[in-house]
Point group: C2
Chain length 516, copies 2
């Protein structure tokens, strides 16, 4: 390790670099990088002068949740969890980090986004990238061959954060998966039903669920004359159709990926198609498509899927869309993705960045749920390669949070961050002990109660606290009330006050706060 003097020298120089970049208004990324180097030097040096200048931030791409955000988050989670429970799901949890090797070779080129832990001796560890691979590891490790489970937890991706659009490096996933050997498309249909229920209940505006099948895609590529070794890379180009025009996608296929123009154009024919069961039937008759066994298998299942979706009454939102590809390697059958079609409210930050008008034109927050069938993943972990067929869906909750936060900002009624039913207050001095005694009585009776941590607080400040945090009732103690064995119970919004005997107080508070 270099000596103090050297480091201090290095810090000075690096400090200049940072100041210069800031002066030049260099890109945030560039500045962050240099600041990080500076930070690193200061950590080496230790000592205080570093701390105050730098630590007052959270890590790049992460955020704290304040009480208001947590109140909203709790509401959203309750909606999602009760849906999962309504469908009979069990709950599991896995560690936030896995052996590095467990994640190796599961995410294709996205693997570069995995967070590794520092090698401090012992095992090589990485933060989980999603909840699906740990789930597959769990199944293989515990020899579970069928389970319907949900798992709600944070996952980690060293991606370029776009926090205004609700894209973070640490974010929640809410996963529901069905593992087991069952008759075709029944669990798959339930997953889509769940997406439909959750997005409807969250009232995020109108949405659409695109459905496709990896076998249909691969079959299509085959009959369009895509060489086998180009399937994946062409697939990932097709995946860009939600962001890029067909012209741009086509030229990427031809110019960058060396696909023949004929093949590209044939693909163009197919990926423009959208429909329902009817489309699946048409394609089964399609001269070219019908030549591919894979495609036919996928199309037959797609018909089956839609028949179940009709029973579930969710076909109004579901579209069979041949342009849906999805990135992840491990999908083997049906794939789906839900998008919000309405203009979401404009995230404040975005608006500030002048993205306002774009939003009004109707910017979509993009995919809010996605998933599919992955019948091969568990086998990758099983010593004997035993397969456990799985299908699941993941709700991308951060975007939902951003929208809900905006709604809350917009709406008049303010979000409560506590559930306190009553404030124990006093107008007179020297009643702290009486206030504490009564508060304890209420706590012991299961009442949610607060008391000010002051010997002699002003009544006004006690009432103000109720106004601010939406506490509906105040129990006011005074010499007279104590003599009479009563409490003055005040309703905050109406300001109406009545005397209630100590004996009846708990009951009265419960009666008046049934809704809380």
């Amino acid at each position: 390790m270099a000596d103090k003097a050297q480091i201090q020298e290095a810090i000075k120089t690096q400090g200049e670099v940072v100041r210069k970049l800031k002066a030049e208004k260099a890109s945030k990324e560039q500045i962050d990088e240099e600041v990080a180097k500076l930070l690193e030097l200061k950590v080496q040096l230790g000592g205080d002068e570093s701390r105050h200048q730098f630590t007052l931030k959270t890590a790049k791409g992460t955020r704290d949740y304040n009480p208001k955000q947590m109140a909203i988050r709790e509401k959203v989670f309750n909606t999602i969890i009760s849906c999962f429970k309504r469908h009979g799901a069990e709950n599991i949890d896995t560690p936030v980090f896995e052996l590095k090797e467990t994640l190796t070779g599961k995410y294709g080129e996205d693997s570069k986004l995995i967070y590794d832990l520092k090698d401090q001796g012992g095992e090589l560890l990485s933060l989980r990238y999603d909840l699906t691979v740990p789930f597959a590891r769990y199944l293989a490790m515990n020899k579970v061959t069928n389970i319907k489970r949900y798992h709600i937890a944070k996952v980690y991706r060293r991606d370029n954060p776009a926090m205004t659009r609700g894209r973070y490096r640490e974010f929640y996933q809410c996963d529901f998966d069905i593992a087991g050997q069952y008759d075709p498309m029944i669990p798959d249909a339930e997953c889509l039903k769940i997406v439909h229920e959750i997005l409807s209940e969250l009232e995020l505006g109108d949405f659409r669920i695109k459905v496709n099948d990896r076998r249909i895609l691969d079959g299509m590529f085959a009959v369009c004359g895509v060489p086998d070794d180009k399937f994946r890379t062409i697939c990932s180009t097709v995946d860009k159709l939600d962001k890029m025009s067909w012209e741009d996608v086509r030229s990427e296929m031809v110019k960058e990926k060396g696909l023949s123009e004929e093949a590209a154009d044939q693909i163009g024919q197919y990926v423009s198609l959208q429909g329902g069961m009817d489309l699946a039937e048409r394609l089964l008759q399609d001269a070219k498509m019908s030549q591919s066994k894979q495609a036919c298998a996928g199309l037959t299942d797609m018909k089956q899927l839609f028949s179940y979706l009709q029973l579930f009454q969710v076909t109004d939102k579901v579209v069979f869309d041949l342009s849906l590809a999805r990135g992840l390697d491990y999908y083997t059958g049906v794939i789906y993705e839900a998008i919000l079609t309405q203009t979401g409210p404009v995230p404040v930050a975005a608006a500030q960045n002048g993205a306002g008008e774009k939003a009004e034109e109707g910017v979509s927050v993009g995919s809010v749920a996605g998933g599919g069938r992955y019948d091969g993943l568990v086998g990758m972990f099983d010593p004997k390669g035993r397969k456990v067929p799985c299908v699941g869906v993941s709700i991308g909750i951060e975007r939902v949070f951003s929208i809900m936060e905006q709604k809350a900002e917009a709406s008049a009624e303010k979000v409560r961050t506590t559930e306190t039913q009553v404030m124990v207050a006093s107008a007179q001095k020297n009643l702290l002990e009486e206030r504490l005694r009564l508060t304890a009585e209420l706590w012991n009776a299961g009442i949610k109660a607060e008391v000010m941590y002051k010997k002699n607080p002003k009544l006004l400040s006690q009432l103000q606290h109720c106004e601010d945090s939406g506490i509906p009732l105040v129990a006011i103690l005074g010499e007279q009330e104590l003599k009479d064995g009563v409490v003055k119970l005040r309703t905050v919004h109406s300001r109406e006050e009545i005397d209630v005997s100590r004996a009846k107080l708990v009951e009265e508070i419960k009666r008046r706060t049934l809704d809380v």
Copy 2:
């Protein structure tokens, strides 16, 4: 990087090492270390042969939670959260990792247990070690000067795991803290009231809450003639009194830490003292103690604290114990720790390791909650060093889980892992569509319902699933029922069946499962 051949060679050699250690029944730690090295080599090599042999485990010191464990965990969390809400706490969340620097210099020598992330460019990050330092960072960063909040999340310590005693490297903490400038000991008393409520409600058996004050400890050291620069190290020796005899503690002080025998013996006099308000009063009169301003301040507050604890009716479990020291550096005033005094049930694993009889003699699972006042921590983050007084408590939930799991094992009634109210079944073939249609009707009416993902499941297997997972009702469909527009509703435990009209079914299921 070495070439493939070299690595393969190294893998072979390392493989031998591991096999040899296993043959010699070497210590688990030792084997783990060597296996990790082997693993590392195989990761370098990549390829499949490594995966199947090794990844089927979770990282050292971590565990998965299966549905049964999650059901128990949910119950425990609900008890704790409703207590926190009863006391009017708001909820916040912070990222799982912080800038490394944020954690630097907060944990004394425990800092070596912090998990660092690998430097992949950008900022240097570490996994949080507790929830207190991130909370202080949050307060300073958001200029919050008073808040009552709870935070339930996982923290990370590269400690030697003792999983049989519920000690892990990844574990939950449930923290409740009160930040703000208030009159002395009122928030402190509420924290102790909360510990009392939670440990009582969890029914973990009898418990005791030890209380002391950093100022009393320091004052005591001063009047006993401990040199100022030895306070912290002597303090950490005193902290061992719950595990070591006084003799051993004394000799560590004298032999290892070079304290004079006189000083050690004087300390011995004090740390043997336990009591309540009376003891605080006695020590205020104590010739030696009364010479220390610090001690007197601590003792006066201790009296105040006990007077509030009397109002809260919790003095039955609280002991003023001068031997309580607690490790963490950041405490400045009152400190406390709760321990279970009863013999906990014997953890299975422990019993297997022959720790059984020790358990019967009455092994305590040790501390289940702890906390104290830390008035200086926020100031360490504030650019201007502005202080925000804080007091808080942390519930060490993993040990509680272990106990609850044991209780569940012991008790007859089995833990339900789902909340499903009804199973939609059929005795006849070709009724899949009817089952799906009815199930969707129930889901849409908010009923928790399951259906088998088979075209023609056996009635017996459908009923068996209900027995296994505790589903109380079965809605049976048959040709006849469909004709009559009814459903046969079967109560699983009594096997009694009645016909219910489709129109009344939802209402009837709700009526029969009110308790669920």
